[in-house]
């Protein structure tokens, strides 16, 4: 049988009872919920970004600069031709999507951070690059999620957005700290 230890005072359920108004946001600032070190991303997302229009295909993909915030307008997803089909199929209903292109200076691990719940893929030539890990805080938009990749340096890569209704997304590409 499982030995049952004496109960610790700690374990009592604490019912924090605020007024209905103060109870609107019980868990505080959703951007405090990250377990990764997101200080670089948080700083970039706090600034003004460069406005971009995402492309509808690889040829029209707009250029994204590493370590800078971009504020990207996305067209309706049903008008987009992806270079590769997104790795996670989602319905395009009401969704906005599109493509950016970017180049990282050297081989290494990088993160793409974004303000929305879009599915993202990084395409290198004809290949979808596998992600190494991802992390997010659903109560935060600055950023909301981060995806970690090992990226080849010095050649253009595509960043594809799909599967979420937001028509703008703020995005950064930064080296893994």
């Amino acid at each position: 049988m499982m030995p049952l230890l004496a109960r610790l005072g700690l374990s009592l359920l604490a019912l924090a009872m605020g007024s209905p108004a103060s109870a609107q946001e019980p868990a505080g600032d959703g951007c405090q919920a990250f377990r990764w070190n997101v200080s670089a991303e948080r700083a970039l997302f706090a600034g003004a970004g460069k406005a971009l229009d995402a492309g509808r295909d690889a040829a029209s993909a707009a250029p994204l600069l590493p370590a800078q915030l971009a504020v990207v307008r996305l067209p309706a997803q049903d008008t987009v031709n992806y270079a590769r089909p997104p790795a996670k199929p989602r319905l395009a209903d009401g969704a906005h999507g599109g493509l950016l292109r970017f180049t990282v200076p050297s081989d290494g691990e990088y993160r793409v951070a974004l303000s929305s719940a879009h599915w993202i893929d990084v395409v290198d030539g004809a290949t979808l690059l596998p992600s190494l890990d991802f992390h997010g805080a659903s109560g935060c938009a600055a950023p909301r999620k981060l995806v970690r990749y090992r990226l080849p340096g010095g050649r253009p890569l595509l960043l594809q957005f799909s599967g979420a209704v937001d028509s703008t997304v703020r995005v950064t590409v930064t080296p893994e700290p």
Partner: protein, 408 residues
């Protein structure tokens, strides 16, 4: 949301069905694996499954969102916007489970000592997210302390024991008798086999085997975890007196079209059970014998009869799919921290090898056990004899048994 890690994509995984064949196993890498199907699909069935996969993966949106009639109706209170956010490409939820805010796939159900749900002003589930302008119902924090013990041979062990303080609740106190029932999202592969199992009573889905059918379980998921209505659940999980929730705009009646509901069922029924990672032949046989001799197979049964799948008589889910009382250590607790007798379904051990490859492991109904050894050491109640037999073994035998279980 969840992303498949860099897994080898093994194509042409053919279902192996033969009379009295073992459970069909394929190299299932995740729900996105286009070739993985439990049973052969014709073109029409394939289209339905593919639509189901897209629906499973898509974040649902607020009622009335332009161009999104098929996926609107989320909330207004909910826990996650897609099935995949919790069910991780068909695999069990992704970790880690550590001190801090309860992660999204760890759902806090609210019950009463007598087992009835819906006794709270928040309905059956404490919804931790809400649409803009609507109050979140409340959130739980995870707090671990440790339980230390020793095997009879003196070797020490340590378990992490979770508590679930509720940070805040939006409108009203939880009634004194409320039982907090933390539940982690289980895998959703092999569902067609669980549906087909021949059992003495209908209940078989969920950590407590309380739900009789996949359709019912899916309707509950839409209503309780996403705030979305379907033909089997015309109401979302609003608490009594939650005007904002009860009066919220809807995204259709019901919000999930019947055909889309069927597509999500088809997707789940198509997901095969991941392949085992057997040990070398001698160790495999010895490990299996230990598992049986120790009494594990009393509940984690070797074979379960199935009905209605051509060419298949039994499956090896390593579960009787029945519920058992494993004692107060695992039992749910009320607000005064008193354990309430709780019966859990013998957790199927199939798919553990795949889960381990996607470490960290989250085992048991609330993901508290980070290893097979910890999971075994939480067994009490009806499993006390098996647990004691495990503890009495030599360290070598225990290690072999654990490795064998890890390979299922």
């Amino acid at each position: 949301m969840s992303r498949p890690a860099a897994w080898p994509l093994l194509l042409a995984a053919i279902p192996l069905l033969a009379a009295a064949a073992p459970t069909p196993r394929v190299a299932f890498t995740g729900s996105g694996d286009p070739e993985a199907a439990l049973l052969p699909l014709d073109a029409e069935a394939r289209r339905l499954r593919d639509r189901g996969l897209a629906l499973f993966n898509t974040d649902h949106v607020a009622a009335g969102t332009e161009g999104a009639a098929a996926i609107d109706g989320l909330g207004p209170v909910y826990n996650a916007a897609s099935c995949d956010a919790c069910h991780n490409s068909g695999h069990r939820a992704r970790g880690p489970i550590v001190d801090g805010p309860a992660p999204l796939p760890l759902v806090i159900q609210l019950g009463t000592a007598s087992g009835t749900a819906n006794a709270s002003p928040y309905g059956a589930v404490l919804n931790a997210q809400a649409l803009p302008g609507v109050a979140v119902e409340g959130r739980a924090t995870l707090r671990f302390d440790h339980l230390d013990g020793r095997y009879p041979d003196g070797q020490p062990w340590r378990l992490r024991r979770p508590r679930y303080p509720i940070d805040a609740v939006a409108r009203a106190r939880l009634p004194a008798g409320t039982v907090i029932r933390p539940r982690i999202a289980p895998p959703v592969f092999g569902m067609a086999l669980i549906e087909a199992a021949r059992l003495p009573s209908p209940g078989r889905f969920g950590w407590q085997a309380a739900v009789p059918s996949l359709a019912e379980q899916t309707a509950i998921a839409y209503a309780h975890e996403m705030g979305i209505t379907s033909r089997l659940r015309p109401q979302p999980d609003c608490g009594t007196g939650d005007r904002a929730c009860l009066e919220a705009a809807n995204g259709g009646v019901p919000e999930v079209a019947d055909r889309d509901f069927d597509a999500v069922l088809a997707l789940q029924r198509s997901l095969p059970v991941p392949a085992e990672a057997p040990l070398a032949a001698d160790a495999e046989a010895a490990g299996r014998a230990l598992f049986i001799d120790t009494g594990c197979s009393g509940c984690h049964v070797v074979q379960l009869p199935v009905d209605g799948i051509a060419g298949l008589d039994t499956i090896t889910a390593w579960s009787d799919l029945r519920s058992h009382d494993l004692g107060p250590g695992l039992a749910d607790r009320d607000l005064a921290d008193r354990p309430q007798p709780t019966r859990f379904r013998t957790a199927p051990l199939w798919g553990l090898a795949a889960a381990r490859a996607k470490a960290p492991l989250l085992l048991l109904h609330d993901g508290r056990a980070a290893s097979v050894e910890e999971a075994i050491l939480w067994h009490g109640g009806e499993a006390s004899a098996a647990r004691a037999a495990f503890e009495k073994q030599t360290a070598t035998a225990r290690a072999l048994l654990i490795r064998w279980v890890e390979g299922r």
